[in-house]
Assembly symmetry: C2
Homo-oligomer: 306 residues x 2
């Protein structure tokens, strides 16, 4: 099965207690695509500037990721600068330059139109909706969003939610959308807006899968932990890598059973854990499928009683 992802391809300048890196290749679509590429065929829709060249192109090519939907525009790529010096779990943003991303108008190559799966990474919900509507035949649509859109762009965001099968967001975002501090109640309220499945990401504590077919009294479908890591080098992109592992694994399955969603949670956690081990996408670029399968076993050992 093939996945089309729309989102940012960017440069990140990152400082963590482990060091500093200037202009790592990043962006939600990049992390998502690299992580998902271990499970499925991935196609990217994004916009980049003149500072995206053959070296960056090669990162995608090495994982057989289709970049024909990456538009090249005059100017510079989206640039983010942030640090995690006080708290490794929370980025402090120092600089955001939208650059070519400010005028992003996603264009869907005809060769992408037979994609079975669509992932709408965190971008303006107006654009998310436009892409969703341009690909009416996809089998499964998942998406992400953030506090900024929830707070100030609620109307278009609600339109996007209607068209999603799966929403992946964090605790705070879930509570914000629902206006309810109890996570279980908030999750039900969010699913009532559209998505059948909701994945709530808890950062270093893992993630919870909610399902709208759960009986009253059963709070959640599955809780998957994050891996306690001896060293978190750089948490940037861990959430997008989780989404890539989760959605990529689903795209690799013959049937979208609840059991498949449950296993997908573990593959999401696996890919998120790798992302944190080195700066930027370094670890995802050097990963192998046997390493992924071995880490899946580590997660199983960490959670299963027998």
């Amino acid at each position: 099965m093939s996945i089309t992802v729309v989102g940012s391809v960017a440069y990140d300048t990152i400082e963590t207690p482990a060091g500093r890196r200037e202009r790592c290749l990043g962006g939600a679509a990049t992390y998502f695509a690299l992580a998902a590429s271990f499970f499925a065929e991935v196609r990217v829709i994004a916009v980049v500037g003149d500072d995206f060249g053959p070296e960056q192109e090669a990162v995608f090519a090495a994982r057989n990721i289709d970049t024909r939907g990456i538009e090249h525009a005059p100017g510079q790529c989206f640039l983010w600068e942030g640090s995690y010096l006080d708290n490794i779990n929370e980025a402090k943003t120092h600089l955001t330059e939208l650059n070519v991303f400010a005028c992003f108008e996603p264009k869907i190559p005809d060769v992408y139109r037979d994609s079975d799966f669509l992932f709408l990474a965190n971008i303006d919900p107006v654009l998310q909706r436009r892409v969703r509507e341009s690909m009416p035949n996809v089998k499964l649509v998942a998406g992400d969003t953030m506090n900024y859109w929830i707070k100030d762009h609620r109307t278009p965001l609600l339109e996007v939610l209607k068209g999603l099968d799966v929403l992946l967001i964090n605790d705070t975002e879930t509570r914000m959308i629902a206006g309810n501090n109890n996570l279980v109640q908030a999750a039900r309220a969010v699913m009532a807006l559209g998505p059948r499945f909701l994945v709530v990401k808890h950062g270093e504590y893992g993630a919870t899968l909610f399902h709208n077919a759960l009986p009253k009294g059963k709070g959640a479908e599955l809780r998957a932990p994050a891996l306690p890591l001896e060293q978190v080098v750089d948490p940037t992109g861990a959430g997008d890598s989780f989404a890539g592992g989760f959605f990529g694994y689903l795209a690799s399955q013959p049937e979208l059973t609840v059991a498949a969603y449950r296993r997908a949670m573990f593959y999401g956690s696996v890919m998120g854990s790798f992302a944190c081990e080195r700066f930027g996408t370094e670890r995802l670029q050097q990963l192998s499928r046997p390493e992924i399968d071995a880490r899946f076993q580590v997660f199983r050992d960490l959670t299963h009683l027998d």
Copy 2:
């Protein structure tokens, strides 16, 4: 197997979004003893005032908890008043009156001396150590502490840690003891001070079991989730109930294998989840073993892939 627990028996006045209760029977030793009593014989060492009468005594008696080590002193019981109005996961303390607890000198009844298990709930480490040394023949010792003792009473606390098999504390306390923000590194540092096992409680996100025999590279032994609850009525005592379920389950086991510790984490989470469902110890007082076993299955479903 029998467990002796030393700690506070107190009154709590609690306000949460679900309501307010004046002077609930509480205290770490109370929650611990009630939770552990479903698995093992429990004996309590504590001090109470004139306001602890037959009605309170009956709460312990109903669960066959031995209260011969509860000393009656002139004055009032320890009183705590707090609320969880802004954040259900974090208590705001409004009032602490130590009362008879200020002069607590734990006295161990002779009939308690054959206890196999000892739990040192969160009290002055000087007292924890004294109790530990008075019971040299116990098979397993576990304990709890808090930021106040870590910050200002480090020397006696380090003495206590030397004598513990298992320490149960939260994330912040683990990082504080170790002076290290990485949880895995901090856990190793804490275990180097004495305890072979460390249980780090993450509140609504569950708890992680660390073991000092873990190979380098394996971060943790087990992560157990907390139950996503539709309504958290009152989180007071959830951590002590976790400890009671965890330690009580261990005391019920013929052998203290690592597998037993892993299952104990789930029983801890089970008891913690019940504690939150009503005010104070109300839910623990009305609980049955079949309900505990059913909830254990809920936790298994929530975490296991097959």
